[in-house]
Symmetry: C2
Subunit: 200 residues, 2 copies
């Protein structure tokens, strides 16, 4: 917990009691932290790694709602106590997370105004990112969404399967393969087995 | 403020100081409360009426993110202090709202655990509704979205223009007119000037 700024501003006694109730989890790549519909009333702090929170659809396809990493490191899975998780959280790579029960969060909110503001900002960032994702889904084509998503990774070469890209964007593998093939013909990417090289 | 349960549980002195800083606004139909991008760091409590929070797109089209009414009566427009509104809020009908500055909200959070839990639930409901809207945008056709939306109004007859439906769903008036015409041919609705009658 000491890695998180707000925590260090708390009174010593409160720090101790929160630490005593915090679980430290190591997740392997692909491991699930919680599932859509679960009652998992906890704050999730990402210490290391990357998680995706994604939505299941009755067709078996999935759509990523948002991702979590160290820069964007807190997730409230299902506050309050009676709500259920809006998606499933899976580790995209080996990750380390801290789990703090919501009851402790309520205590934190009472004692620490920095933490209140931090958590509010976080909720609003989540809302803003979901709103942007809605706008993109409505006004961008799948081609544009996939292309922008590849560009946003800021890497020249990406090790990923077409299946994984499909799961992110809520579509099927064959559709993504067609989109990527089109990008290749346009000279924007170069494809090899489970690897995409960005050219343009 | 007395119309809101959590408020009545607060100490008298706190109630008074919040009331002194709460603004009571009457909005005419079509009136804007805040605009996308505004810094409007307040809690908005809906006392009466209905508001839509919608997203502007560069094409001039708009997409409704969520709606607010008495049953779902609190909106945090742009918490924290530094964030900007994710959409514009407009009164769909004559409405009455209370505006509480965020600084007072932080005080409320410290003093009242019911309010904490209430606000957390609210944020999660908002997240859940945005996630559902993302899923619908991805996996439902526009026809299905418009049809489900009409059904969800639970009215046999609806006074609304095609333009208004288009603004809700992020599309153009002509597209909605075509969709409704198709519904009419299928015997699901009956159309007259600015009115839709549900049949099926």
């Amino acid at each position: 917990m000491q890695a998180f700024d707000f925590f260090n501003t708390l009174p010593n006694q409160l720090q101790k009691s929160i630490l005593a109730r915090t679980k430290h989890l190591h997740l392997a790549q692909g491991e699930l932290l919680y599932e859509q519909g679960d009652a998992f009333a906890s704050l999730v702090l990402i210490k290391k790694g990357k998680l995706s929170v994604y939505r299941h659809h009755e067709t078996g396809q999935t759509l990523t709602l948002y991702t979590l990493d160290e820069s964007n490191n807190i997730d409230v899975s299902s506050a309050g106590m009676h709500a259920s998780c809006i998606g499933s959280a899976k580790a995209d790579e080996q990750s380390e997370v801290l789990i703090v029960p919501l009851t402790d969060i309520y205590r934190l909110l009472s004692k620490n105004s920095d933490f209140q503001e931090y958590l509010f900002e976080l909720f609003m960032q989540r809302n803003a990112s979901l709103a942007q994702a809605m706008e993109d889904l409505r006004f961008k084509t799948l081609d544009q969404r996939v292309y922008d998503w590849l560009k946003q990774r800021h890497v020249s070469s990406l090790s990923i399967t077409h299946e994984e890209i499909a799961n992110y964007h809520g579509t099927r593998r064959e559709v993504i393969s067609r989109v990527l093939k089109k990008f290749e013909l346009q000279g924007a990417v170069k494809l090899s087995r489970n690897r995409i090289e960005m050219i343009a």
